[in-house]
Assembly symmetry: C2
């Protein structure tokens, strides 16, 4: 059964929270505690756990270790997905470090790309940075399906198109875009500038 | 009139797109072109423009410069909001550069914070980095209302609490969290690890 996107997002968030409890020998957590931390309804929490086949005792709460095992079994990807970072400027390098420093992150980064000869043919945290022209060949070779776009330019449509041809199925975008992707591509927009504009508007209207 | 959050988000996105056309002397754009770029319905585009009082000719399209003026008048914040970055490691510095390099970004960053003495009492791109203990004093002094959390630790609740007391009204979070904020605080979660877990799940289910 394929879980709804929102459920997967929440399961991933529950796991982050539970991680901080797991060093305790015997610990229990209530659905309303998890709900409070994520600002959602406890009914939603219980429904999510039912969806993955986990039923705790609502009197004593859920046993943290059991719950984590269930979430792990649901979310863990057998061989690990592979991702790449396009653009190894400051943002790209920071993201590589941020991702690599996570012990439970399910994603491996076997290669990164840039167009600047000063950045290519080097390694960052043991990951090679190649010239972007080699992306089609290497994305296929390493079976990379996730691309993180960490370039500043607005003009990314051409790059995105070539990534999709090379088998990329999902994009996390930090660029100012905009660009088009087909409907079957999972696109997550992390454009911080647009976000700042939105926030500024709301604060100024208060 | 306070516009809906989603409308503000789209207006900000339209502006990004229009920006690439504005160097043309006389240029027009159709609602269906904008809609296609953002993968939304053209009716939505026309409704958004009606909301800000802009009516183009649906026969010839919208005049780009006029449309940009309207969006600017709606979204531009008179004196500019102020933001800070908490954590000036690689990610914090990359975000500062990313934000500063945007000519139309409505946000100024007068100060940043860290707890590491190797990072504090220095300037990055002409912006001073102070010890986090000085945040309450300086956030108030500079009237900073937006905080970008760029630290790696999970344990941010205490930091977030002290920011809120100092007048922060909105948070963009890059940390692994989780933390609680009151309902009137505008929180945008940019947690890349959770996003990667979600994406991995969906790709593995295909």
């Amino acid at each position: 059964m394929k879980l709804p996107a929102k459920t997967v997002e929440r399961l991933s968030q529950y796991r982050r929270i539970l991680h901080s409890y797991k060093h305790l020998e015997e610990s229990y957590i209530f659905s309303h505690d998890l709900a409070k931390l994520l600002k959602i309804n406890p009914v939603q929490v219980r429904r999510d756990f039912m969806l993955i086949g986990f039923s705790g005792s609502s009197r004593n709460g859920y046993r943290v270790n059991d719950l984590m095992d269930y979430i792990d079994a649901t979310l863990t990807i057998p061989k690990g997905q592979k991702a790449t970072i396009i653009g190894m400027g400051e943002l790209g390098r920071a993201l590589l470090k941020h991702i690599s420093s996570n012990p439970v992150c399910p994603v491996m980064i076997p290669a990164t790309f840039d167009i600047d000869p000063k950045k290519t043919n080097k390694k960052y945290l043991d990951v090679s940075c190649y010239d972007l022209t080699r992306a089609p060949e290497l994305l296929t070779k390493y079976n990379i399906q996730i691309a993180i776009i960490a370039i500043v330019t607005n003009d990314v449509q051409e790059i995105v198109d070539s990534l999709l041809i090379s088998g990329i199925k999902s994009i996390i975008n930090f660029s100012a875009g905009p660009f088009r992707v087909p409907d079957n591509i999972y696109l997550k927009d992390f454009d911080i500038r647009t976000t700042l504009e939105e926030i500024s508007y709301f604060i100024s209207q208060e």
